[in-house]
Symmetry: C2
Subunit: 231 residues, 2 copies
């Protein structure tokens, strides 16, 4: 990242945090001031955060149901609805996922670094601490698409579209989520959750009350995303 870009990031990020704190203004850049209020209904989109540490507060079944109802109402090519959602709440299964993630991460670390015993121990402590937080939630959803759906070549759109709905619906009900991909490897969920080969994993996602709501990470300037009419 260039210095200029980094400064843009930081400026934009600070302004974003500041405006989000008001809960009503929408994120402004300095080049496009506006007095318009952001409708409350859109707060859930702006206030969604990637949450990696959860309180042990139960999530009622009715909320899980509402969140999954929202996910399955996502746009889907030719109405094919190619999704499966694995809702994992069983504590011993969650512990198996955690242990398998730790084992996988340590094994990859060994393969990359040829570490000394002391480096390996240090890495083990860090990895365990990371996954302790990662698996502190009481509910996990594994989002899948079915390679035997009506139009499987469109699943790469349909999968994340449902995942986005899931995250926004969870936020609207007061819950944090995070869209895990490599941190919780697909091979781990496939093995521990016995996922048949015909399913493609989209992501792995906790649902829960955050220990704290993280700030939004620094965001690029709004105008850097926008092209008017055509290139």
């Amino acid at each position: 990242m260039s210095k200029q870009n980094r400064r843009d990031f930081m400026i934009s990020g600070s302004l974003l945090s500041a405006t989000l704190l008001t809960d009503t203004a929408f994120a402004n850049d300095n080049e496009t001031k506006t007095e318009d209020k952001y409708p409350p209904i859109l707060d859930s989109i702006l206030k969604r955060r990637s949450v990696r540490h959860y309180a042990s507060t139960p999530v009622p079944d009715k909320h899980i149901r509402m969140i999954l109802e929202a996910a399955r109402m996502a746009a889907t090519s030719g109405n094919q609805q190619p999704w499966k959602f694995i809702i994992t709440q069983d504590k011993s299964t969650i512990m198996k996922l955690k242990e398998a993630c730790i084992e996988n991460a340590i094994s990859r670390f060994k393969g990359r670094n040829n570490p000394t015993e002391s480096q390996l121990n240090e890495q083990r402590v860090e990895t365990k601490a990371y996954y302790k937080k990662c698996f502190s939630a009481l509910v996990y959803v594994t989002v899948l698409t079915d390679n035997e759906s009506t139009y499987p070549s469109y699943n790469h759109w349909d999968g994340p579209l449902a995942a986005a709905n899931l995250m926004i619906a969870a936020r609207a009900l007061g819950y944090g989520t995070v869209h895990y991909t490599d941190s919780v490897p697909s091979a781990v969920t496939q093995k521990v959750l016995n996922i048949p080969d015909r399913y493609e994993r989209v992501c792995f996602m906790p649902i829960g009350i955050p220990i704290e709501w993280p700030d939004a990470p620094p965001k690029k300037q709004y105008k850097s995303f926008i092209i008017h009419n055509s290139f």
Copy 2:
């Protein structure tokens, strides 16, 4: 689709339409009755529809801005934000897109069917009518991801995650959208909008007030999507 599956679709679809009409209940299947209300804040997700015909009502700039702000706050791998959004409002550019889509569709029809002159004329009439509706909106957003982003192998998630936010935010403000893929071919938008090769198109999307809000298409039973704990 088997008869049983088709019946499940239809039953589920009717129930869904019935519950959505109340605007407060959330979609039930007959196997899991509940009295819980769907929170109004989630209505925009349940009431999003694929809209393919638009009124000529202008969309204020501030709404376009809010919708794009929501899109760019999507979850994104390592905060890379690999998106570009082309906002096309220029009428002559929109007409060029329409003409190019018609030409593309007719050319594909010829290639597939070796049609007689009369079949070709009939197809031309149908195709023109289809794209007249498709291009009846006043605002279009082409969602792109940048192959030169920080983590391009994660763009296939980040792209649709932003598109989903865009559709929900638009619905929250009263606008219809539709997630066009092949109906408005990527080759057409690339040519007419001069999109450089480094960008991957996610989708092409109108934003506007619908001529009418379509019913939700028939949806599969809720329980058909859900696996508890593991396979």
